[in-house]
């Protein structure tokens, strides 16, 4: 009997497509439904939806793994998700609630409803609440400070960079970055040691130049700036440098201060990137429904279509690495959403878990 049970367990584990690794969940930001999905890759299904706010996009995990910070592009805020309880612990505004509209008129509802005391625009601008639903400066990029006590957030509108103190949940510094030519949208921010790397792009669609700017983490003084490809979307810190995905020009460019950027061509629409081993990067290529495995040392690029049993998984955006480093959880963000499991050894899709359409980012957290 025991043998049969053991055999059954072995078979079950083998058939599940996921080996016995540290138990974990994959959290997926679902922009279309204002939620973060809690996905169990073993069961192959979404266990829970956590309502976080308007247009959840990028996510980062705290070093202890007990918190996940979710950027709410539509609610001008960051949601702090507690990994133990799988619930929103706090939200932080990433910019002040405005008193007036751009034309100078007073926003009466903000005064009457004391909007200035809220910690997310989602408290009022939610489904069924105040209109419009999408408001604010459109925060998009997120990075921890060196001491992990603060968050840096870049904003699309106004090209703003803000700094949030994690103890108080308050914005302690905010600056509208000077544009680089017509590039005035801060598409992403990352931290490389004690320097910040900001990707600046013009309002899209555009064929104008974009730039990568290096700032001192503490003073925000400009240290260096270099042109990059069209529509930079994501900055991945890599040692002393930063790898930037250029969405429109189908390249990844490796930037380092004082050196010319090195470029790698991938299939169309590189968006998210993931370090999957020493010097190896997996690029999620949105428009080509494919991933590229890039060897930064040799320059070799291998491309793989995301398909399983003749089904193509479209529009990959971001991805997360399984704790054993053998699998990648990729968000396929078409109107029919999937969390696609990509086996790095076999270099193929092994599983596809239904999630909401128009999802965006994924992180792996410990199962508590």
């Amino acid at each position: 009997m025991r043998k049969a049970l053991l055999l059954g367990w072995v078979l079950l584990t083998a058939c599940s497509g996921v080996p016995a690794v540290s138990p974990h969940y994959v959290l997926v930001s679902q922009a279309g439904s204002s939620t973060v999905a809690v996905v169990d890759p073993v069961q192959g299904k979404t266990l829970q939806h956590i309502t976080v706010g308007g247009l959840p996009h990028r996510m980062v995990v705290s070093p202890e793994g007990d918190r996940v910070y979710v950027v709410l592009v539509g609610s001008q805020a960051v949601a702090e998700v507690d990994v133990l309880t799988l619930s929103v612990r706090r939200t932080f505004l990433t910019a002040p609630v405005p008193e007036r509209r751009p034309d100078g008129t007073v926003i009466q509802a903000h005064l009457e409803q004391d909007a200035f005391s809220q910690t997310s625009c989602f408290a009022c601008h939610n489904p069924g609440g105040a209109r419009p639903f999408i408001v604010g400066e459109r925060p998009v990029g997120i990075a921890f400070s060196s001491d992990f006590a603060r968050l840096f957030v870049s904003h699309i509108r106004q090209g703003r960079l803000s700094e949030i103190d994690l103890d108080s949940g308050q914005v302690v510094r905010a600056v509208n970055l000077p544009p680089s030519g017509s590039a005035n949208e801060a598409a992403d921010v990352a931290r490389v040691n004690a320097r910040l790397v900001v990707a600046l792009r013009p309002r899209q669609p555009s064929t104008e130049a974009s730039a990568v700017r290096w700032l001192d983490e503490h003073t925000w003084q400009i240290l260096a700036e270099a042109p990059t490809g069209s529509d930079p979307a994501f900055v991945l810190p890599l040692g002393e440098g930063a790898l930037v995905s250029n969405f429109e020009s189908n390249t990844l460019s490796l930037h380092a201060p004082g050196a010319s950027p090195k470029s790698f061509t991938v299939t169309p629409g590189p968006l998210g990137m993931l370090a999957v081993g020493k010097g190896k990067i997996l690029s999620l290529n949105y428009y080509s429904n494919a991933v590229s495995l890039v060897d930064l040392d040799s320059g070799q690029v291998q491309n793989f279509r995301l398909e399983l049993a003749n089904k193509v998984f479209v529009n990959p955006t971001h991805a997360a690495l399984s704790p054993d480093g053998r699998r990648v959880y990729i968000v396929s963000s078409g109107t029919e959403g999937h969390l696609v499991v990509f086996d790095l050894e076999r270099k193929q899709v092994t599983q596809a878990i239904p999630i909401d359409g128009l999802s965006f980012d994924a992180v792996v957290v410990r199962r508590q």
Binding site: Q30, A31, G32, S33, S34, T35, A37, T46, H49, N126, P127, G128, F133, I134, R138, R203, Q204, P205, T207, E248, N250, T267, P268, G269, Y286, Y287, S288, V312, V314, N315, S333, G334, T335, E336, G337, H338, P354, I355, D356, G357, L358, S359
Partner: protein, 622 residues
């Protein structure tokens, strides 16, 4: 076998004895793994024959018959993607589930835009002008996957506020928690080479497109706003490549607000944000004899799709706060409908039951009287065990009418309503040929207070509501069951004109030609949604027509008459006849264009109101 045939014949006889009670609705056969469809013209509603239908991913093709219908059997289970092609029309696409019973695809094709030549070695902006503004595509040089330098570009605009039935596929962000997408502006882009092959962008290349925001939606979307954009992928049957577009001023005319976005693949393309405010509405699909139909597919736009349960009911997630279009279909294979409406077994035949309810036409009710709850509907598994809805929105279904119907409905303020209904075959221009009066229709008129009347047939094809007074300035909705089989084939609405009268002119009055500004009143002018056109004519008695006549056509309530001279001058002194006419409903624009505002499958028409004010005679002094 012999016994079985006899049994089939007996069932047919029993059905025929039902006296028009279509009670076989739920028991008639519906072949598994079968997709049937009906293809129509989005402009006229006419059935389209000779349309090539291709099953994506296979070599299966068929062609629509003279009734615009097709049937595909023995399909593999799962999502079936179909392409539709007919010369003169933009490519159409549809999806259906190949499942336990036959499913229906309703496809409306749109006549394609004007062809423009293009040499792909050059940068170029090509555009198609419409009333909403220019639809444009901006090419970078050498961005297309061809060496042919003689290309033709066709941009087919689509205004989803009026033509959403022509949008391919489901506008839904699906997955674990489906969310409707709210269509804003769309177009189809076709690039053809000299061999008539479709050409697309090189992998990695992009173009920029600009799509006007429809006038009805401009208050919702301001310059600088971001709208999610998608391209339709015929291979997957889904809307994909979600990127953000920006509302900007058109680069063609510098004024029209357009959605400007980057495009990577030429197909259907457009903007549709996710619907944040959702409601769950209960519907019930009923066949002839008010019998609930199980297994009918109901599609809501903006909204999701659902299948009716054994009570004929379904709960569907819709967008809150906007008029929603509901379409229900139910298909029977190896069946035909006899002259009394009975479903009779017949191998190879098919019946496509269709029902449409447009909330925009439920005036006075606005759908609010029907069962609806805040938020999306619960998952399907919990729907199947839910209690019967207390007040679901009824959607009557019946076979779409054969032939083609055209209606003209006149609302006479303070008087009656007249409807002329004809049946015939539309020619290439959409006009009916060999038209005959259509008898036996069921036509109802509702007003904005919820009053409803059924029109009587005064003479063949002429319908009138007796004892029903059309009130000036009130909005009316007409529902037409053209073939009298219980399903609404077309509907439309219009305001009856208000009481229109001169404000500052009186019969026999004398006025200065140099300073005269004629003004008039319309008692309904301040009503929300009311729109009237006024025609004013000044004509000197015995005059020549140049220096002594003036015309106005527009929606203002005043007019300074000037002679038809260049530059315009005050009218010559003399005695003038002054006429004032008012129009509402199907009339549009500065040329008094008449557009169809009654729409449906197999029918089109106009509902309008007209008022001619008694002409007055005035004297103009220098």
């Amino acid at each position: 076998m012999r016994n079985r045939l006899w049994l089939v014949a007996l069932i047919g006889l029993i059905g025929a004895c039902n006296g028009g009670d279509n009670s076989g609705g739920n028991t008639a056969p519906s072949a598994p793994n079968t997709v049937v469809g009906l293809v129509t013209d989005i402009g006229s509603g006419a059935r389209l024959s000779g349309v090539t239908v291709r099953v994506v991913g296979s070599s299966r093709t068929t062609t629509t018959d003279v009734r615009g219908e097709f049937e595909l059997r023995g399909l593999p289970a799962g999502l079936v993607k179909l392409d539709f092609e007919k010369a003169g029309y933009a490519p159409g696409h549809g999806i259906a589930e190949s499942a336990d019973s036959a499913q229906t695809v309703l496809v409306a094709l749109k006549k394609d835009g004007t062809e423009q030549s293009y040499n792909p070695t050059q940068a170029r902006t090509l555009f198609q002008r419409t009333e909403a503004g220019p639809y444009a595509v901006i090419f970078q040089p050498n961005s297309l996957e061809t060496t042919d330098t003689s290309l033709r570009v066709v941009v087919t605009p689509l205004d989803p506020t009026k033509e959403d039935a022509a949008l391919p596929g489901d506008l839904v962000a699906g997955g674990a928690s489906p969310t409707p997408l709210a269509p804003v502006t769309f177009a189809e882009f076709s690039i053809l080479d000299s061999q008539n092959r479709r050409i697309n962008l090189k992998p990695g290349s992009s173009a920029i497109v600009e799509l006007p925001i429809p006038p009805e939606l401009r208050s919702q979307y301001k310059i600088g706003d971001k709208i999610h954009c998608y391209a339709y992928n015929p291979q997957t049957g889904r809307w994909e490549d979600f990127v953000e577009g920006t509302v900007e001023r058109s680069s063609v005319d510098g004024t029209t607000p357009v959605l400007r976005a980057s495009i990577r693949h030429f197909s259907w393309y457009g903007g549709a944000p996710t619907v944040q405010e959702q409601e769950c509405v209960d519907v019930t699909v009923i066949g002839p004899g008010n019998k609930p139909l199980e297994g009918a597919v109901v599609t809501a736009r903006p909204g999701l799709r659902a299948v009716t349960n054994r009570l004929g009911q379904a709960s569907i997630t819709i967008q809150k706060g906007v008029p929603v279009n509901f379409v229900a279909t139910k298909t029977y294979t190896d069946t035909f409908v006899d002259s009394r409406g009975n479903l009779i077994p017949k191998p190879g035949a098919k019946v496509i039951d269709i029902g449409k309810v447009y909330e925009d036409d439920l005036i006075g009710l606005d759908g609010q009287n029907y069962s609806r709850r805040p938020g999306p509907c619960p998952a399907e598994s919990s729907q199947s065990v839910r209690a019967a809805a207390t007040n679901p929105l009824p959607i009557p279904v019946a076979p779409a009418p054969e032939g083609f119907f055209e209606a003209s409905a006149l609302l006479l303020p303070g008087g009656a309503v007249f409807v002329l209904l004809e049946k015939g075959i539309p020619n290439a221009d959409g006009d009916l040929e060999d038209a005959e009066p259509a008898s036996g229709a069921q036509i109802t008129l509702s007003d904005s207070l919820g009053n409803t009347v059924t029109l009587g047939e005064l003479a063949p094809g002429t319908y009138i509501a007796s004892n029903f007074n059309i009130v000036a300035g009130r909005r009316y909705s007409l529902s037409i069951d053209a073939d009298g089989n219980g399903s609404i084939d077309g509907s439309g609405s219009a305001f009856a004109l208000g009481n229109v009268s001169w404000s500052n002119l009186a019969d026999g009055g004398s006025y200065s030609a140099a300073s005269l500004t004629a003004t008039w009143n319309d008692s309904a002018a301040s009503q929300p949604g009311y729109s009237a056109l006024y025609q004013v004519i000044f004509q000197r008695q015995g005059g020549s027509g140049v220096s002594d006549s003036a015309f106005y056509l527009g929606s203002e309530l005043s007019f300074a008459p000037r002679a038809q001279t260049d530059p315009p001058t005050p009218l010559a002194p003399g005695t003038y006849t002054v006429m004032l006419n008012a129009f509402s409903g199907a009339f549009d624009g500065g040329n008094l264009d008449i557009t169809d505002n009654i729409t449906g499958i197999g029918m089109q028409g106009k509902i309008f109101s007209f008022q001619a004010i008694n002409p007055i005679t005035i004297n103009l002094t220098p």
